[in-house]
């Protein structure tokens, strides 16, 4: 078994117009910049993107938004140091926003990967973000019903992968990666290193390979924060 493909361009080439795409990362930490930029080059439109944020500056997810590829964003915190790419389009009514509390976003994605269609959480009970959702009381406390979240594709950044798709991550760059790999039909992972099966200690595997469809090696991945400090723009 070998899930490796030759390039980021090849890895994302079949993502069609209208697809839902989960993108890993919390801000720039764990953001799969090379996969996102390959997707900008490919240029599908009307995408629904699931990410914690809404881009920063003019690279990565902000670059996708500026390229007019994103119809809807599902996220928890659409603000950043330079949020103009999203903010101007949102305020002009050109992009739809579904705002989800951060822990609820994570749990909805986890539930999507785990085959759990809905769950109850105390988060957002009694607030505007619970409007229209079913509620229930358990042991005297109010909870809100939330639905699973799945996607056609996921773009995720890992540190080391083996050819079967077993993954390790780097520091807090792990964030949404393991969840999104499990919740997408086709999960696409860029890894700094791709090694032979057996070279990752099974005790150290964070995402088991069953959740990964495609791997691509990106030896020296770019960091969104460093690109922004250099005032980079993509494309």
């Amino acid at each position: 078994m070998d899930k490796t493909v030759a390039s980021p361009a090849e890895a994302v080439a079949d993502i069609p117009d209208g697809a839902s795409v989960m993108i890993g990362g919390f801000g720039g930490s764990g953001a799969p910049i090379e996969l996102i930029h390959a997707l900008i080059d490919a240029g599908p439109k009307d995408l629904t993107v699931i990410n914690n944020n809404a881009g920063n500056g003019h690279v990565g997810l902000a670059g996708m938004i500026e390229a007019g590829m994103v119809a809807k964003l599902i996220c928890s915190f659409p603000k950043s140091k330079d949020p103009r790419a999203f903010a101007t389009r949102y305020l002009a009514g050109e992009i739809e926003l579904e705002l989800v509390p951060q822990g609820t976003l994570a749990e909805r994605i986890r539930a999507g990967g785990a085959g759990i269609p809905a769950f109850y959480t105390p988060t957002s009970f009694g607030t505007d973000l619970a409007a229209g959702k079913p509620t229930a009381e358990f042991d005297g406390r109010g909870y809100v019903q939330e639905r699973w979240l799945k996607a056609d594709y996921a773009l995720v950044k890992a540190e080391t992968a083996d050819r079967h798709g077993n993954l390790t991550y780097r520091a807090a760059g792990r964030n949404f990666g393991p969840l999104m790999c499990s919740a997408a039909t086709v999960s696409i992972v860029q890894a700094t290193r791709i090694v032979a099966p057996g070279e990752i200690d099974p005790e150290q595997v964070v995402t088991p390979g069953i959740f990964v469809k495609r791997l691509v090696r990106v030896e020296a991945p770019q960091q969104e924060e460093e690109l922004n400090r250099a005032e980079a723009v993509y494309p």
Partner: protein
Amino acid sequence: MTDISDIKLSNAQIAWRAAQDIEDGAYVNLGIGFPEMVARYQVDGRQAIYHTENGILDFGPAPAPGQEDWDLINAGKKAVTLNPGAAFFHHADSFAMVRGGHLDVAILGAFEVAENGDLANWSVGKGGVPAVGGAMDLVHGAKRVAVITDHVTKTGAPKLVERCSLPLTGVACVTRVYTSLAVVDIEAGRFVLREKLAAISLGDLQAVTGATLNLGGPVADLIVPEL
């Protein structure tokens, strides 16, 4: 009437007071911005372990400029360091720690706190781009949910009120408020005054508070060092 701008505590002093209540061995989440300052005033001889919702337990202070690792950041997206014994985890585990009752203390900022413990701290409710992040999760699950805040808004309106006027972050979730004038507990749907600056009378404090301050026993002087 006392001019409260002459006597009120600085943000650093409010953070210092909140830090005195963090017990040895506590697992703590500090909200982004002002609450992050609490970590600076950890009491000597006590060890708290700080949680950041993007997936680290036991992170330390910022690295020296130029030493940042941008995969190693906190919820405010600032670079941090690791203490010995730190751990990484994914987002679903991170919020299991939050909602599952595993944190001892969460300390947050506030626009308004109501006497029943309702908190408004995520939205001013008009225009702009809405953003919530982890605020609605953090108010559920920690054993103590404390707020640090100025006692009044920049225009002098009370921030401790009978009912919040801004969109809620959570219902009946706050247990203690540290303000620039006082320490107030929330018990059985009412504010109970525990400490106040000696320089302000009870009447003047009540006058800048939007709901009744109840007395649950003697009120101690709120004493904080110059910082």
